[in-house]
Symmetry: C2
Subunit: 348 residues, 2 copies
């Protein structure tokens, strides 16, 4: 999930571009070679896989004016997000649209699909489109609505602060699908934040808080009855890094964070202080993106990267808001993405 390029800079009086990859390796690209190999349609004939640009037209003393990241693997965002949106039926029907859906999901972390029905069953169709859904103790799919004796805080009308789903599992769901069947007028807006982006800010603003959250094991618990009875416990670092120090997953849900906290007593208060810094950064206006789902909308998002929340809404005698949700595993999603990429690129 991590970005491949760590840093890009113009060196040697702008004549050379230096790339530092995420594994600290360095590559150097002379500006003249980059100009010579421009892949745009003015400079390159794709059907012939051949260069159109003439040496006559080449400025051999060309320099680099500026560098813009086109983060292929991972585009970080804040409140400026343009929510990527595709048509639900197109995604089911056409491989090009399904490929666009999953590749954008991987890159941006969220895609909204519009034009689904306002009946249950739509997330199951998406599960079939990918391969299959990820079954948990909450069932193959689950109904987010106000319930009596709710076995999960999501099944109330209360505010849900930023969280990832299901850190009580050691392998939390990679991708979440949420289909709006009914929407209330009195609140219930959705809030999302790019966890990887917020981690980057936290690491810069408060390296110590980042260090604490990426090294402290936190207990999560979830006990109840749904698909069957369950008693789940896990330990996770809230910010999970890979061997190279790149953030690969956020594990955080304040509702299921356990009372048990297995750390030396002197580390408790600094942990809470670090967590508050992280949450405050998420809640800052420039980090979060707010929108409201309409019946027929499905949001599909990276549950290892995004944190999501919901504004409270008024409880009534009738169910005024109803989402149907489901999970998919990243390995299953990536498998479908590989197959679609090959099919779309080979044009069959």
């Amino acid at each position: 999930m991590a970005c491949t390029i760590q840093k890009a800079e113009a060196l040697d009086g702008t004549r050379v571009m230096q790339i530092i990859w995420h594994d600290e390796e360095e590559s150097l690209y002379p500006a003249v070679w980059l100009r010579d190999n421009c892949p745009c349609s003015d400079c390159y004939l794709d059907s012939a896989k051949a260069r159109k640009l003439l040496v006559e037209a080449l400025d051999v003393n060309i320099g680099i004016k500026g560098l813009t990241f086109d983060r292929k693997k991972c585009q970080y965002w804040g409140s400026e997000l343009q929510l990527p949106t595709l048509d639900f039926e197109d995604v089911l029907r056409y491989d090009e649209h399904a490929y666009k859906w999953l590749s954008t999901l991987k890159k941006v972390g969220i895609v909204r699909l519009t034009g689904a029905s306002d009946k249950p069953g739509e997330v199951s169709k998406l599960g079939k489109r990918i391969g299959f859904l990820y079954l948990t103790f909450y069932g193959h799919t689950w109904q987010v609505q106000d319930k009596i004796d709710a076995n999960n805080v999501a099944y109330t009308t209360g505010k849900l602060s930023f969280h990832t789903d299901y850190p009580a599992l050691h392998h939390p769901p990679g991708v979440q699908l949420l289909h709006c069947i009914k929407q209330t007028v009195t609140g219930g807006d959705s809030e999302i934040v790019d966890g990887f982006n917020v981690c980057q800010k936290l690491k810069k603003n408060n390296p110590q808080a980042f260090q604490i959250l990426s090294s402290t094991f936190v207990d999560f618990t979830d006990i109840g009855v749904d698909y069957c009875d369950f008693s789940v416990q896990s330990k996770h670092k809230i910010i999970e890094l890979d061997d190279k120090g790149q953030v690969v997953r956020i594990n955080f849900n304040n509702a299921t964070r356990d009372t048990v906290f297995d750390v030396p007593v002197e580390r408790v208060q600094p942990f809470y202080a670090a967590l508050k810094e992280f949450i405050d950064l998420m809640n800052s206006e420039e980090s979060k993106f707010t929108f409201k789902m309409n019946p027929g909308d499905v949001i599909t998002f990276d549950n290892w990267r995004l944190l999501h929340g919901r504004r409270s809404y008024e409880a009534g005698t009738e169910i005024s808001r109803h989402l149907e949700g489901a999970y998919a595993d990243w390995d299953v999603v990536m498998s479908r993405l590989r197959i679609l990429r090959q099919r779309v690129e080979n044009g069959n």
Copy 2:
């Protein structure tokens, strides 16, 4: 999964037992206190939760003769294994037997259940007993037998060397269930080895090999069609350690190890040498345990800890050997174990 006790030793002229826990913490237990608190039925009346041993009978100069590990969490084993065996129907029917099943599975890594039928459907009953099975691209359950154009080496009559199942997934199945429906007379014996035990030996005999296998990322791949079409790729360290350096999972299947091997060229030969050391240790007579499954037997084992294999058998015109298999997730198994423990201990 890791053992809690790292080392136990008698100190101070045998008067004190020193325990080094897996987190490097030390505890000291005077021999006289241990003697005073012996929990056996001669020394302790369990119904009254009271000491029977008299001070008159206490040798205040008692020393420690020897120390034997009763690894509660994890009993390592080699060829001397006494294969834990329970009755299939008892496990389905009685909570005490189901608790014994799952707690032994956690501790020893394998339990054989006998007395199942010789018809498909028995592993699904165990899945229901736990909660639910772990669906993969090979289906809810899968049939291990000789198949034309096999999409997996398991579906042939050939020898299967020691492997864990499905390292091509980033979250390989935690627990494997294998039910023998039909068994051939001409081979097909099962071989198992305690991967955590072999790791401990490797670390002692060849620390460099251990270091290489616990730090090198290896690519795995699996492409084909079964439950649906799939194209799966992963990276794993063959010996996976937690933050404290304890082995938590073995990820190894030579059949699905990718041709792609993303390491600097000078590390390739040393990697193969380390891998061969590891495999040779597994194949040593003192490490492995060999047995033959009979129709109606189900073996249930820790796929993160054990490696398993099969001797080849003669192909015929008819199917001479047939196992039905399935997977379960450790979080689901541990959830059931917690619920059963509470029920059995509270006697309701």
